[in-house]
Each structure stands twice: as structure tokens, then as C-alpha cells.
Symmetry: C2
Subunit: 423 residues, 2 copies
């Protein structure tokens, strides 16, 4: 792993994959087909891309029952406990409607409402990610969304992995469809005979899914389009090199484009971590992926002081930040930009990925400068509420009309003057 002293501005930003012209054209024509031909088009693309002909897209209760028999009872209990932790944490994010009142009769407020319906995309392929199902569905459920729909591409036998079905059922998802790719996004956005349209689409996917989400954005809401995952570890000489190395590698195994960075004030830790990464890497089943990620994007930065180290962290605005210093809480107030902050050596990133209750859908690629973890708020929206009594109105009518005229909007001024004692 490269070790370097800090001597210039450091940024995480990698170019975002915005697809080729050809990919965009494919996605546009799939969406158009689903819009005009509905299920028939979804069926055609499912046959072409997933290699299976499906008459029925909906997953049956029977299939869910079978899934439960295929997962260890102990594992089901762990999924349930994780779900409960996620629910507990996210319940703190619930916002109430509120209002203010004034003696002159003015009432102003904000009415909070859940979205009516949400669609959750769950990728298929070799790895099944039940944790991702929980992280997306539980906040929607806590927000009060009545209709939570999941779509996921079927395998060649027309099946969805049992762990994903169990997680979906435990998260309170009531509609599950076997469809994937751009055709599934189009079905969620515009509806087909089988699937009623939804108001928002969330969840990760490959480049075709990402492009389709961009394409339907505006007609429905979408969540952020996530980039490859990152971790930054901020450590002093109290940190354990084995643990730091293991954490860096846990990020690197995700993806060749994942980023693992150590920022430390300790040269000896820097050297020890570099050695440990090399040693542990050899023992990993996904070592090709992890090695590629570490070689391309891995870095160890030695800072001259903790202040400089923190400055680097804020420049990076990492998705995951682990603070492994003697007194990690001392530094919390200084961290301005990070998706999730893990404090101390027992708060390893997988604690938050799976179990603690915080959300693992986090802003990547430096966007923690302006974005937040997925939360209950992403599934609620607000309406402003305005009530003026006659008294409040008459006190302010002239001022409001004057402001409208300052902007040249005469009909606005007249709408005021049509009313009340001024009339």
C-alpha cells in the first residue's frame, strides 16, 4: 500500500460512470417499450436478460414460505434483531407536523405526510444482499409508507434468493415482483398491468438501473445514485494495525473501485498497516477484487499533526469514517463531512453495515459535503400551512400589495385588494 506525506489538497472524487451513448439508448428504448406495452415488454426483456419466461411476476406467499425453510433459524433471528435495531434508530428520525400561533390569529405550520408508495430495487446476480433490503424498506415503513414494493431480477429458474425474500417479508414488504434492470425501473415509474406505479424508487443497481433511474427522475422521485464504497480510517499510535488493516480490506473486497484510506499521525502505524494489508490480503477469498482496489485507490497518508489529519478527512468527506484514536469522542465535534462516523476500535464498519441500526445507505464520492444517509425523511414530505385571520390580514394587506407591485405583479396585489376592509 502506498504511504505518503500530505503535501497537497486531497480529494476522493472519482469520475462518476454516466454510461455510454449506446447504453443510454438501450435504456431509453426499454423504458419506452414498457410504457407502451406494459407487462408484455417486461416479459420480453426478462426473457432476454434473465433467461427465463415468466407468466406471473408476483412472488407468491408460497414462495416466501419456502424461502423461510431454506434459511437457518438462527440466521432468521439475526435478521429480525437487525431489523428491530434499524427500526429503533430510525424511529428517532420521525418528524411530527407542527404549528405556531400568534395572538392576531396567524397560524403557520408544516404538515408532514408519508409518501403513498415506494419501489425498492434489489440487485440480482451472485451475491444476495438482505441487509440492503432492510436498510431501504425499514425507514419507508417507519415513515408510514403504505405500499412498499420490491423488484429484483429472477435467476434462470425464476427464483429470488431466499435470504432476500425473508428480509423483505421481515421488513414488511407486501408486494414483490420478479423483474430487474431498466424494465423494472420503468414498470415502477409508469406502471404495467401487474405493477401499479410508485412515487419514489430507491435502491442500488448496475449501470442500466442507474441510467434508468436518471431517465425517470422527475416523473418519480429517486434516491441518490451511489458510487463505489469508501472508508477512511483516522488513527493515532494507539490503534491496532491488524484491526485497521482488516477494516480497510473489508471495504476493498466490495469492488475494484472501492477506496480504502488511512490517515494517521503515526509513521510506525502506517508501516505496520501496510505490512498487515499485504499479509491479510493473501488470505481473502475475494482477494483479486480487494488487491485491485488497494493497488488503484488505497492510500496511507501520514499527517504532521492531528489537526492536519482532520483537515484531510474533511476534504475527503468519506462515506465511512472510523476514528481509532485514544479518545475518539474528542474529535467528533471537528468532523464536518462524513456519511457515518464510527468511534473507537469496537465500532468496526460492519457493525453499522449490518446491525447497530444506523443506515448503511450513505453518501459516496465526497458527496457527504452536501448529502445525508438514507433516512425516514426520504420517505416523508411536507406541506406548508398558512392561515391568516381577518385581523392579521388587514394589518399586513398594504405591505403585501406593495411588495407584489415592487415585483411588477399587479394581479398579486389585486388578489389582496379584493378582500377585507380595504375593499
Amino acid at each position: 500500500m502506498k504511504i505518503q506525506r500530505i503535501n497537497e489538497e486531497i480529494s476522493l472524487s472519482r469520475s462518476v460512470d454516466s454510461g455510454t451513448e449506446e447504453q443510454r439508448a438501450i435504456v431509453q428504448s426499454i423504458i419506452e417499450d414498457v410504457k407502451t406495452q406494459g407487462d408484455e415488454a417486461v416479459r420480453k426483456y426478462t426473457e432476454a436478460f434473465d433467461g427465463i419466461h415468466l407468466e406471473q411476476f408476483a412472488v407468491s406467499q408460497e414462495e416466501i414460505n419456502v424461502a423461510y425453510t431454506q434459511i437457518d433459524t438462527e440466521m432468521i433471528a439475526i435478521i429480525q434483531e437487525a431489523r428491530d435495531n434499524i427500526r429503533d434508530y430510525h424511529e428517532h428520525q420521525l418528524k411530527a407536523s407542527w404549528m405556531t400561533t400568534n395572538e392576531n390569529g396567524t397560524i403557520l405550520g408544516q404538515k408532514v405526510t408519508a409518501l403513498d408508495s415506494v419501489g425498492l430495487y434489489v440487485p440480482g446476480g451472485t451475491a444476495a444482499y438482505p441487509s440492503s433490503v432492510l436498510m431501504n424498506a425499514v425507514p419507508a415503513s417507519v415513515a408510514g409508507v403504505e405500499r412498499i414494493v420490491m423488484v429484483s431480477p429472477p435467476d434462470k429458474n425464476g427464483m429470488i434468493p431466499p435470504a432476500v425474500l425473508v428480509a423483505a417479508n421481515e421488513a414488511g414488504i407486501t408486494e414483490i415482483y420478479k423483474m430487474g434492470g431498466a424494465q423494472a425501473i420503468a414498470a415502477l415509474a409508469y406502471g404495467t398491468e401487474s405493477v401499479k406505479r410508485v412515487d419514489k424508487i430507491v435502491g442500488p443497481g448496475n449501470i442500466f438501473v442507474a441510467l434508468a433511474k436518471r431517465e425517470v427522475f422527475g416523473d418519480v422521485a429517486i434516491d441518490m445514485i451511489a458510487g463505489p464504497s469508501e472508508i477512511t480510517v483516522l488513527a493515532d499510535d494507539s490503534a491496532n494495525a491488524n484491526e485497521v488493516a482488516a477494516d480497510l480490506l473489508s471495504q476493498a473486497e466490495h469492488d475494484e473501485r472501492a477506496v480504502s484510506i488511512l490517515v494517521t499521525t503515526s509513521e510506525s502505524l502506517a508501516n505496520a498497516v501496510a505490512d498487515e494489508v499485504t499479509r491479510q490480503l493473501e488470505l481473502l477469498p475475494r482477494k483479486e477484487i480487494a488487491a485491485q482496489s488497494i493497488a488503484t485507490y488505497g492510500a496511507i497518508y501520514i499527517a504532521g499533526s492531528m489537526e492536519q489529519a482532520i483537515e484531510v478527512v474533511n476534504q475527503l468527506a468519506p462515506e465511512h469514517l472510523e476514528i481509532m484514536t485514544a479518545n475518539p469522542f474528542d474529535l467528533l465535534g471537528k468532523i464536518k463531512h462524513a456519511g457515518a462516523i464510527f468511534l473507537g476500535r469496537f465500532s468496526a464498519e460492519p457493525v453499522g453495515d449490518y446491525f447497530a441500526g444506523t443506515n448503511h445507505v450513505l453518501p459516496t464520492n465526497g458527496t457527504a459535503r452536501f448529502s445525508s444517509p438514507l433516512s425516514v425523511e426520504d420517505f416523508q414530505k411536507k406541506s406548508s400551512v398558512i392561515f391568516y385571520s381577518q385581523q392579521a390580514f388587514e394589518k399586513n394587506a398594504k405591505k403585501i400589495a406593495a411588495f407584489a407591485r415592487l415585483e411588477g405583479l399587479e394581479a398579486h396585489a389585486r388578489a389582496i385588494e379584493e378582500r377585507g376592509a380595504n375593499k
Copy 2:
């Protein structure tokens, strides 16, 4: 104005103007030029589009002082009172960081931080909109954003309208630059010699500004891209036709594509409003615009019952909803989708546009189904905070490792097993 009974699903959705290929190409090349040539490129485009050569883009304190002499003292006081009302309302939206603690030592929380910097685009042209400056800048200031930058195209004399400068100064904006169009958006997104880059860009603009915001989205955050404005009035036979008509026209004068709709249970009101619209329209200075909007998008729907009327309102999900019924608060709980809800005859839309304190930047084109008014939250972001004590860790380590292995992520499991008593 067309009067019709409701007999099918009604939707506000109009196609969103996503620009021509040519417009997109122009915007891309302007952005590229500003990225590579900085101020020089901005200077070139300012000369080409705004007809003025500027050596210096920054507005000086002297120019602001002069602006104050050009605006009526009474008008300045109205702007200040509106700003105070907006600040009071938005202070209720401020979120605090929070945490939960558990006896086993677990601490989970959410750290709320303001964005470092925000850029506000203010359109030029004939109409100056100081209210829009307040509505965008005050929430950013309440959120705690340290650097609020405004850009606005100069007129042929290199000036920005005095009312806009006064509003900017009153809202606490400290940096103002004379630049507009795609070149200003690029300068905010990537920085030039004169302008340091910002983290988020907000504010309305023409199609070039909207396309430029879409283009830089991802590198910086942007607010929603607003469509033409809409009003829906929900009224029973207690409503006053003159007032309803005046309110519909106040929307229609904005834009030929503005939408003004009355939904009512009263046939006599429907007829009276149609007549009043015709009468009042003739008296408006912007009657060409308003007449065009009413002819194309105006509609009066007669509902068979208040329940049906409310259903229509929720289908429309209007930007502005006025409830002009005998007991408007009776209906508030039934409204699911609206940007802002104005209750009763003294809560005319201009009350909220200018003065009451709620935000006038609202979701348009049916997006109130999933979007919210501009708020303090748009200028803050959150970081998850996770602390596990050794006790909490050891209690859960095996479960976390098992979950990671269920997903095939061995390095995640090992990061857990590197630690604690399991080691």
C-alpha cells in the same frame, strides 16, 4: 374559462422542458470553457449574452449603498419585516444533533452540520424578484451556512436591480457577483479566479440555467428544477367569486404555462368565477400572459361531493392549494399532497408568496406527491454516529460476522473477528 364535471382521473403533469440538443450542447461547451479558462470565459460570455464587458464581477459595498438610496424607506422596512417573518418560521425547522444511549454502552446518533457554502442564482431580465432572494438565502442563513454567494446577470450598464441588492444585503449575503446563465452556474460549481466553488446551487433560472444545473449535478448539490407555477382553489358555495377569480389570475399572470384550477362543489360559484375571470382579466397589465395561461391550462371542475373534490386535489398535488370553504380546517387532515395549503379567504396566496414567513419555493407539476417546500433542511446534512463499547461489541460480534458471511463478504466477518475476546 372551461367548466367541466369530473369524469376521469385528472393530472397536472405537463411535460418538463428538458431543452433541445442544441441548447444542451451550448451549455456543455460554456461549462467546459469556464472550467478550463475561469474568469476569462465568464467575461467572454457576459459580453456575448449580457452585452457588457466587466473587469470585476464582484458587487462592491458602494454599489449596495447606492441601491439603498434607490429604494423607498417604507419598502425597505417591508422587506425587513418579510425577512424577519421568514426567519421566524424557518427557525422552527432547525434540527439538532441527537443521540441514544444504551446501558451496554452503545451510543447511536445523528450529527447535524450546515453546508459550508451555497450559491444562489437570481434571474435577471425585466422583473426583479427580491422575494426570491429572501426565500432562498434566509433558510441557508438559519441553517448556519457560513458562505452564501449570490450570482445574477448584469444589465447593459453592468448593474443588478437595487431591490435585489437590498434584499441580498438584508438576507445576509456577503458575496455577490454579476454573472448569469450557464457561465455563472459553472463558476459556482467549479470555481474561477473570482469565485470560490460552492457545495450547493439553488434558485430559479431560464432553460440554460436549468440545463447547466442538471449538468453540474453530482459535482455539487442542486435544488429542484422548478416548473411553471400552479394554483388550485378548493371552494364551496361560501366562497366569494371575486376573490377566487383574483387568486386564479394572480397565478396566471406569472407565465403562459402557469396553471389555475378551481375545484368546487358549487355550480353557481363555478359560473360566477368564470364570469369574474373574464371581467378581471381585461383590467390586468399582464393580460396577454394571463389570458394565454387561462385559455390553455385554466379549468373549473365541478365535483359531486366534497369527498370527490378532495380526491381531485390529491390527484393534482398542486404547488399552491387555497381552501375557501366555510370550515377550511375541517379539510386540512384530508389533504395529502400539496406544496402549500392556504386556509380561508384571508389567506390569499400572495400572503405566502411575500410575507407570512413560509417558503414560496414549492414543488411544482405534481411533484408535491414526493417533494417538499424549500427548507432549512436543504442546507444541512447529517452524519450517522456509531459507538460500540467492548461489551456491546462482544455481545453481538458473532451475529454480525454471520450476517456478513450470509452475504459472501468474508473480509467484513474477519474485520469483526480481528477484535475483542473472540480474537
